[in-house]
């Protein structure tokens, strides 16, 4: 087997984004007729790696060899020419066209559109897969599982030699996963090289021949799947050095501030945990585990199906974000600050006071003096660096300063329970440290901080306690003494089977 010629070979790939080394000296060979798993934590560099293969990113160093030809960088056209196809989590289909039309899209089948010929091509591929999809069904009427099969069929019809599947099982039901695996096995037998990315280690063992591990953009190792085990993989995936320092905190942990009992809604089921005054509760889990989703239910932005929320021991029936902020003192700093957190075209002051305008208005007319006081106070407290709070628009600020505006806007509501969703994503080290200090100050004031984060260092460094989300349910809880990267990752990647 070692004598086989790799279908795709990457050597010494390096990719640098401003301020971050996303990939450093990554070398992996992919062989035809093999399913090769690529695993790593959130942010390990898997997506960047794939994008170098498909030509979406040009690497800053290293070479890519495919079909005996060596390149410094791929382009989307080049990668397609060499039969590299990638199926992303978000489908790349035209949903108003039929399955067959999507499969044949971009292919020259003659001068005019020939429905019958396209349907025959699609039918043949579906028959080979052993799936029953009507080729003339519009894609938007298909289930996610079938959409994915159409994607794979599209790749197959283009005679792909290297197929990349990015988290393919995430949107699928158990039955659909089985069909997918059957198809993947078929393609392997036909000699296609398959790169399989998954958070679910069980699937790695079920499906793959080889597994490569990335950590913080660094290539760790490649193992034969049959020679390794779950514990070993987790050991390789974590082993992260804790280089960052966190500001010390001197806070008294008090009574329970927020308690969830079997809270269910927004596709997340039976979440129960407690968070205390003066405490930072870390919320961990892989991307898509339902952390953000349940926080939106707590905040009243999404409907609750069942379960209860208690604020300071009293049952709270939170129906809207307005009630959450002004009646129960809960604020949420959303994950996607540009889309949900702030008004980019408006000024800093405008943003900071936005949530409290109701409180500083008389008969709907804003008290401009109070407005200025509040904006100045939080602008200073957040240490926002800008020429002029009243004139500088948020869109011109750096990511870190934008985040401070969003935090200031949330804090202006004087809430006691503060939910941070990815508090430091995309901001520089200095601004991160300031956000941490800010969180500490909140704790010292007796506020309850809930921190949803994908950053392992931040999670371990800042939390007093950690709850881990599995797949759309709670996977476990760890006290400070029990903190370990292995345990968190083990809980988080235990698959949808629990409960």
């Amino acid at each position: 087997m070692a004598e086989k010629v790799p279908a795709l070979s990457l050597k010494g790939i390096r990719k640098v984004f401003p301020g971050v080394v996303a990939l450093d000296n990554v070398s992996i060979d992919f062989y035809p007729g093999e399913v090769h798993a690529l695993i790593g934590e959130n942010g390990a560099g898997k997506s960047t790696f794939i994008k170098t293969i498909t030509g979406a990113h040009a690497p800053d160093g290293g070479t890519i060899t495919v079909d005996g030809q060596t390149y410094n960088a791929m382009t989307p056209a080049l990668s397609r020419q060499h039969g590299i196809e990638c199926i992303y989590q978000e489908f790349n289909l035209i949903d108003v066209l039929s399955a067959a039309e999507n499969i044949c899209y971009g292919e020259k089948l003659g001068r005019f559109v020939n429905q019958r010929q396209m349907n025959e091509i699609a039918k043949k591929i579906f028959d080979d897969f052993g799936v029953d999809i009507n080729p003339s069904t519009l894609v938007r009427n298909l289930t996610p599982g079938h959409m994915q099969i159409v994607e794979i069929a599209k790749a197959v019809s283009k005679e792909c030699k290297i197929l990349i599947l990015d988290e393919p099982t995430a949107p699928l039901s158990i039955a659909e996963v089985e069909i997918l695996f059957k198809i993947v096995n078929q393609l392997r037998d036909k000699g296609v090289a398959i790169i399989f990315i998954s958070h679910r280690l069980d699937e790695v063992f079920e499906l793959t021949d080889r597994v490569s591990i990335l950590r913080d953009g660094v290539y760790i190792t490649t193992l034969m799947t049959k020679d390794t085990n779950r514990a070993e993989l987790i050991k390789y995936m974590v082993g992260r050095e804790m280089t960052q320092t966190f500001p010390p905190r001197n806070a008294q942990i008090g009574d329970v501030a927020l308690e969830l009992k079997n809270l269910t809604g927004n596709k997340v089921k039976n979440i129960s945990f407690k968070a205390h005054h003066g405490e930072i509760l870390g919320v961990s889990g892989l991307v898509g585990a339902g952390r953000t989703e349940i926080m939106k239910v707590v905040f009243g932005a999404e409907k609750k199906q069942w379960g209860e929320v208690y604020v300071n021991g009293k049952k709270a029936d939170i129906k809207s974000p307005n009630e959450a902020m002004h009646k129960y003192g809960i604020c949420l700093i959303p994950e996607d600050r540009k889309r949900e957190g702030c008004f980019l075209q408006e000024t800093i002051s405008w943003n900071i006071v936005y949530n409290v305008l109701g409180k500083i208005s008389h008969m709907g007319v804003i008290d401009m003096k109070k407005e200025k006081e509040i904006a100045d106070y939080y602008g200073k407290a957040m240490r926002i660096k800008a020429p002029n709070l009243n004139k500088t628009k948020v869109m011109t600020l750096s990511g870190g300063n934008q985040q401070k505006v969003v935090v200031g806007k949330a804090l202006a509501t004087q809430s006691d329970i503060i939910i941070f969703d990815e508090p430091t994503r995309g901001i520089d080290v200095g601004a991160k440290f300031e956000i941490y200090e800010l969180m500490n100050r909140m704790c010292e004031e007796g506020k309850c901080v809930i921190m949803v984060t994908s950053d392992m260092e931040e999670l371990l460094g800042m939390s007093d306690r950690i709850v881990v989300f599995g797949e759309r349910c709670l996977a476990g809880e760890l006290t400070k003494e029990e903190f370990s990267q292995e345990r968190i990752l083990d809980m988080a990647s235990s698959g949808g089977a629990s409960k």
């Binding site: 008004f343 980019l344 804003i366 002029n388």
Partner: protein, 343 residues
Amino acid sequence: MQKKKLKDYFQEYIMVLVLILVLVVFEILGYTMANRNFFDISNLTTLISQKAYLVIVGVGITFIMLGGAMDLSTGYLLSTVGMVMALIDGNAKGGGTFFLITFAAGVILAILLSAFNGVMYSWLAVFPFIITLGSQYLFQGATYLLTGGQSKVFSKLDPAFKAFGGTPIVSSLRTSVIVMIIMVAIGSFILNKTHFGRNVYALGSNPDAVALSGVSVAKMRIAVFALAGLFFGIAQIVNIGMKNGSVQQSFGVGDEFTVMAGAMLGGVKMGGGGGKISNMVVGVYLIGVLQYGMNYLNFNQYWIYVVLGIVLLAAISLDTMQTRAAINAAKKVSGKPPKEAAA
């Protein structure tokens, strides 16, 4: 850093400069082509009074645009409101409903019809272009049905109409200008000083963030359209007044485009996210001056359309180029490239 640069001032007031420039051009052309003085007081006051009605419509349109929506149905809404007021009024037939009842009925109808647009928009959550395209036909048909079709003219309505919009104050300056000033002031006050006004900007800027702030996006949208309806109703009263208390179906039809074009020209962003009432006033008057001036100089009506089209496209191009330049500037990183290039 706190001081505004000359460039910023230039950007902010460029349309005012253009307006002045156009006035000067007409003055020069007036002398050379027709030996007439365009800057004649009665000439200018006529111009200001005539276009005041459009500015009042513009206040409503500005609210809708700042809230991230658009309205194609305004013209026929105005037409419907005008005809209903004429029918209620009954002065021509010697009946004579008290003018306040007529006015109130017109304004309330305008609010309801516009709010209807808002309700449909909130409920269906599709782009308002489609909603208001539909209601445009709806209002048009309703008007024809009400009046029995064809181009029916109602004249000699209650003199209160004329008092409200068409009575001269000084020279050719009419009461329409006073109503306009009041409406612009009210609109600006609401936008700049009230909680509601903030939410209008917020709605156009980022509806997702509005929803996460606990404000009902649906209710806000309905409220914005309803408020716009208030201005539409008042505008049509002024318009009838300007026409000496007569009204016909065509009153208002097509004006939504003039006003929207003016607002965009002045700097109100289509799809929300920026602009002020004052921008709209300048823009609407710029179009008004072009129309009036070219008529004054006896230009062919068809050429007027061509010029207006060119002006509008030029303004949009300028705005787009500015936005692109800002985006590109924001993408740039400060500093210099490192001396060692990566291998």
